[in-house]
Structure formats: structure tokens, C-alpha cells
Symmetry: C2
Subunit: 143 residues, 2 copies
């Protein structure tokens, strides 16, 4: 069974109250995957009128906590959000412009999920980040 794509149902399903800001955030992130908080705030205001930046921060946290959104924050960049959750995919990050693209698991369903020596940690997630240069930046660099 797939998770509903309707914001209201998603919220209900997660036992969260349905509010204008929350619906708008879910829609905004679905429309702009990998958007940072600022871009989400803009997109939310475009579709739902005045919403305080604080509300967006709160909502992003609540939705991330509920598992409806996933937060990505590559080293040195600001936090970004995406609505594609639960399929354990990974990301490529451009060192130059910070652009992010999705990458599905290379080998099977959960490739690097088991550490060789976990030092007694109980591991629940493996996050893979690929670093490189995006096509656009590669093109610009080559004069």
C-alpha cells in the first residue's frame, strides 16, 4: 500500500492537526524537492498567504519528526527537505552550486547498511552522500 499523496490525508494519517501552514508546506516540498527552508517559506506564502517563518520552521520539524518529510543537510550547506521518504535513496551534491539530485541504491535495496565494526552503536540508518560537480557547473568551469 502506498502512502497517500493528499496532504490532508497524510497529516490525518500521522495524527497531526490539519492546518493551512502544514498543508502548504507539504505541497511546497512536493513541488520543490530539495528546497531549503527559505525557498519553502517563499513557496508556502505563494500558495497560502502570510505565514510566519517560525511557523514554517515548526511545521518542517513536526513533519520531519512524523516521517512525512526527510531533512538533508550536507556539510556546509543549509538544511533542505524532500517528500520522498521511506525508500532509502541517496543524494549527489554539487560542490560548486550546492545542487542536489536523487540517487537510488546502487546494489540491491540497502547496500552499505551494515558497518564492519559498529563500536557497540545500535545503527538504524545509513546515509550515503556523493560529492561532485553537476553538469551545469562542469560546463561553466570549462572555458
Amino acid at each position: 500500500m502506498t502512502v497517500s499523496t493528499d496532504p490532508v490525508q497524510q497529516l490525518r494519517g500521522a495524527a497531526l492537526r490539519v492546518t493551512r501552514p502544514r498543508v502548504a508546506v507539504l505541497e511546497a516540498v512536493a513541488d520543490h524537492p530539495h528546497a531549503d527552508t527559505d525557498a519553502v517559506i517563499q513557496a508556502v506564502r505563494d500558495r497560502a498567504g502570510d505565514v510566519s517563518h517560525q511557523a514554517v520552521y515548526d511545521v518542517l520539524r513536526a513533519l520531519t519528526g512524523a516521517g512525512l518529510l526527510r531533512r538533508i543537510q550536507p556539510s556546509g550547506l543549509v538544511a533542505r527537505y524532500e517528500s520522498r521518504v521511506g525508500d532509502n535513496h541517496h543524494h549527489v551534491v554539487c560542490r560548486t552550486c550546492g545542487d542536489i539530485a536523487d540517487v537510488d541504491c546502487a546494489t540491491g535495496t540497502a547496500p552499505c547498511l551494515t558497518a564492519s565494526d559498529d563500536h557497540g552503536f545500535s545503527i538504524d540508518e545509513a546515509e550515503v552522500l556523493y560529492w561532485g560537480t553537476c553538469p551545469a557547473c562542469t560546463a561553466t568551469t570549462v572555458h
Copy 2:
């Protein structure tokens, strides 16, 4: 051939000027792997007297750029540094206390280094981060 463990030689080898702050930072990070900037500043002052926080930031950036140090910044946590570079090992991060431990590559030398679909990105590094709970925090949580 192995990279020297002597700070002065490391700096010379990277064509960097040898200064008191730089030597102190290299020693501090070697002594305290996975320390954040603040901890590095403290450690540097302990061993080299007054050094401005700005100098430490500059030095950390210069050394990271030269490949003498590696910067780690898990989502939501402040930047940390380690001197174990060039062996492509990964990290486990405790969700509760932020503690970090080293993890060697699970399968062979470079497990997940190839993305299934790179979207045209030219990838130069794959970073793997394991998330979980460290032994200490597991013990505290279980009442």
C-alpha cells in the same frame, strides 16, 4: 610511503607555512579526533597560549583544503575535524549525544562509491554516515 605524523613535516609537505597556530591545531586534532571547532580552540590554547578563534577557523580551513584534515558535519551538528585522512573510512553518529566513532569500509576498499545513476554529475567522493545510538546513551535510556 606514509604521510609524516610530525606536524612541521606535514605542513612543509603541503607547502604551507609553519606557524605556531597551525602546528597546535594539527596536534590538537590528532589528540582529540572528532573534536568540534570550539574544542579545538580550547586544545590549541592549552598548548600554544593565546590564539584567536579566527586564526583557528582560518587554519582549519587551510588544513582541510590541503588535505591534512578532514571535516565532518553530520546534519544538525557543528563541524568536527579529524586527522585520519586518505583511507576512506566512515562514521557512526549517535543521535542522542552526537558522539562519533570511526567505521572502516564494510565491503572491500570503496563500497558504495559508484552511484547507480549519477545524473551527469562527476562524482569524486562518497561519504557514508551511519546513524544510531551509542552504548552510553543506550544504557541511559533503558531504565
